[in-house]
């Protein structure tokens, strides 16, 4: 299928990205080409094929529900963009 600029704007919104006019133009051209190319998979008959959910044998991993020490709040403070009174600060959410 052909991807136009409106499709790109819609998908970018879902991905929380704001694209520049140049990016919108470039991506809609390039992604049309890429999508047309990956549609090659439609040649495959997968009517009796199961989806590959995992590639090596996996077992559920469970652990006891015990409280363990995690990363210190002081450590998190160091990597947070904005931190005050023990909390990460973000712009106002509710007026």
């Amino acid at each position: 299928m052909k991807i136009d600029e409106n499709d790109i704007i819609k998908v970018a919104k879902l991905a929380r990205l704001d694209l520049t006019p140049d990016e919108k133009d470039e991506f809609s051209r390039q992604l049309s080409g890429i999508i047309e190319y990956v549609e090659k998979i439609n040649e495959l008959d997968t009517s009796s094929v199961e989806a590959a959910d995992h590639i090596v044998e996996l077992n559920n991993v469970v652990r006891k529900d015990i409280v363990e020490k995690s990363i210190d709040r002081d450590e998190l403070k160091k990597i947070a963009p904005d931190f005050a009174d023990g909390y990460i600060v973000v712009p106002k959410i509710i007026e």
């Binding site: 991807i3 499709d7 790109i8 998908v11 970018a12 879902l14 991905a15 929380r16 990205l17 704001d18 694209l19 990016e23 991506f27 390039q30 992604l31 080409g33 890429i34 999508i35 190319y37 990956v38 549609e39 090659k40 998979i41 439609n42 040649e43 495959l44 997968t46 094929v49 199961e50 989806a51 590959a52 959910d53 995992h54 590639i55 090596v56 996996l58 991993v61 652990r63 990363i71 210190d72 450590e75 998190l76 160091k78 990597i79 947070a80 963009p81 904005d82 990460i88 973000v90 712009p91 106002k92 959410i93």
Partner: protein, 482 residues
């Protein structure tokens, strides 16, 4: 010139007390300061920390408390592997100043052996690329020809080992990101079985495909480092609880009695000189007692569409965590929470990352999920079955790693589809989760390295290492003039 020594060689010299860790550190500091201006393989290289860690190691050894025979050897770490207290940027603006408060499982295993992080190596942003041109910190140059790319995404790790700026290094391989740069830079690179090495603390790109692996200037060195990082880690739910099974001191270097498959699909469209060289090496293996068997991996041509649909879908989900809230880059002048997410992401991610997030979000979005993502998962099953069938007939598979030698910087950067298609020979191993490596075969007439790929069945790293060492024994040693 200690920087020219290999990993195992350094370990022996240290154990015999012929050299100190401090001397190794000094040698690398000099070498990197001279050479990396040209190559750009390191994003973070901290001389002071290196000298301090080396001194601590020398004290341990003099007190008889060395943590292992490798205590005090510096190893380069790809900058998408978390190293506590050392910046881990993923070559992205969004993590340009991120200093992680924890260690990746694989790195932790190295620390337990007394290994020192030599520095953090350059990569395509979030490991998305095949040339290391998509780095916020500038491209890496190929040590054999600085007008060419080193391959990617682990281009910094491959170039550093190739140009004697590290004895060995860690990389990660989602679709060939270890094997392709190893081939382009003339070193050995191995991606183990999915689940063999912990992914805890490896910054996620495509979780069902990502795997940490190693680079070395010879098979044994790459194997020795892989052996160290392998093993179960309860913090990675896809980590496999079984013995390490890799022993670098027991590589047979023999192919006697082994059945080696040659898939016809992997020899189509590759450059003539490369084809001739690899076919020559296969003949030599036959003379050494291997049984060479033509095989078919008939779904190979579907690997790229399947891979790029699955990898980008997983990436779009994994990269949702970069929202400017808890860590990483945060945009300024925000009016509300939504603009915090959107502005931080839009300003923080580079173009290729955005392109892949968009593609992944598209294939997962309502109305397209069944036709693209689900269909790709079914295609993946067919590719897995292709290999199951092949390994019921042969012990290992031999092929080229790439269709060409290292390409020019800028040659493909405006054509993402062409760049994606250059991964055709490496991505299937990731889709099937099997171990695969690249070992140098020699140089072409332009003086550029050519690699050979050997793929094995799940958990049969040792077998492909044996074969790789046999290939290595038929080749002259190569190194760049830098």
């Amino acid at each position: 010139m200690l920087y020219k020594k290999g990993f195992k060689e350094l370990s022996e010299l240290l154990s015999d007390r012929k050299i100190s860790s401090g001397e190794i550190a000094e040698s690398y500091i000099k070498r990197i300061n001279e050479t990396d201006k040209t190559i750009n393989s390191y994003i973070t290289f901290d001389e002071e920390r290196l000298i301090k860690e080396a001194a601590l190691s020398d004290t341990r050894r003099s007190e008889g408390k060395a943590l292992s025979p490798f205590d005090g050897i510096p190893v380069a770490i790809k900058d998408n592997i978390n190293t506590s207290g050392i910046k881990t940027t993923c070559a992205s603006k969004i993590l340009a100043d991120f200093v992680p408060p924890f260690n990746a499982g694989a790195y932790e295993k190295l620390l337990e052996k007394g290994i020192i992080a030599l520095g953090k190596t350059n990569l395509d942003e979030f490991a998305m690329g095949s040339s290391t041109e998509n780095s916020f910190f500038g491209p890496v140059k190929n040590p054999y020809d600085t007008s060419r790319v080193p391959g990617g995404s682990s281009g910094g790790s491959a170039a550093a080992v190739s140009a004697f700026m590290a004895p060995v290094s860690l990389g990660s391989d989602t679709g060939g990101s270890i094997r392709q740069p190893a081939a382009f830079c003339g070193v050995t690179g191995i991606k183990p079985t999915y689940g063999r090495v912990s992914r805890y603390g490896l910054v996620a790109f495509a979780s069902s495909l990502d795997q940490i692996g190693t680079f070395g200037r010879n098979v044994e060195d790459a194997a020795a480092l892989l052996q160290m990082i392998s093993g179960y880690d309860k913090r990675d739910s896809t980590s496999i609880d079984r013995d390490v099974e890799i022993d670098s001191s027991k590589i047979t270097r023999s192919v006697k009695g082994l059945k080696i498959g040659v898939p016809s699909e992997y020899f189509q469209g590759i450059n003539d000189e490369m084809k001739t060289m690899i076919e020559g090496k296969i003949k030599e293996l036959e003379k050494s007692g291997a049984e060479i068997k033509p095989i078919s991996l008939k779904y190979t041509e579907y690997a790229i569409p399947v891979y790029y649909l699955i990898a980008t879908a997983e990436a779009s989900s994994n990269l949702a965590r970069y929202d400017g809230v808890r860590y990483g880059y945060r945009a300024q002048d925000l009016k509300d929470l939504s603009s915090l997410y959107v502005k931080s992401r839009s300003e923080g991610f580079g173009k290729e990352v955005k392109r892949r997030i968009i593609l992944g979000t598209f294939s997962l979005s309502s109305g397209y999920y069944d036709a693209y993502y689900l269909k790709a998962l079914k295609g993946r099953t067919l590719i897995i079955n292709d290999f199951k069938n092949a390994f019921s007939q042969v012990d290992a598979i031999i092929s080229p790693v790439t269709t060409t030698t290292a390409f020019k910087i800028g040659e493909m950067s405006n054509d993402p589809l062409q760049m994606y298609m250059s991964d055709i020979l490496t991505i299937s191993a990731n889709l099937a989760g099997i171990p695969a490596l690249s070992v140098p075969a020699g140089l072409d007439s332009n003086g550029l390295p050519i690699g050979i790929q050997i793929m094995g069945n799940h958990f049969e790293e040792q077998k492909i290492l044996n074969i790789a060492a046999a290939v290595e024994d038929t080749c002259e040693e190569i190194s760049p003039n830098i």
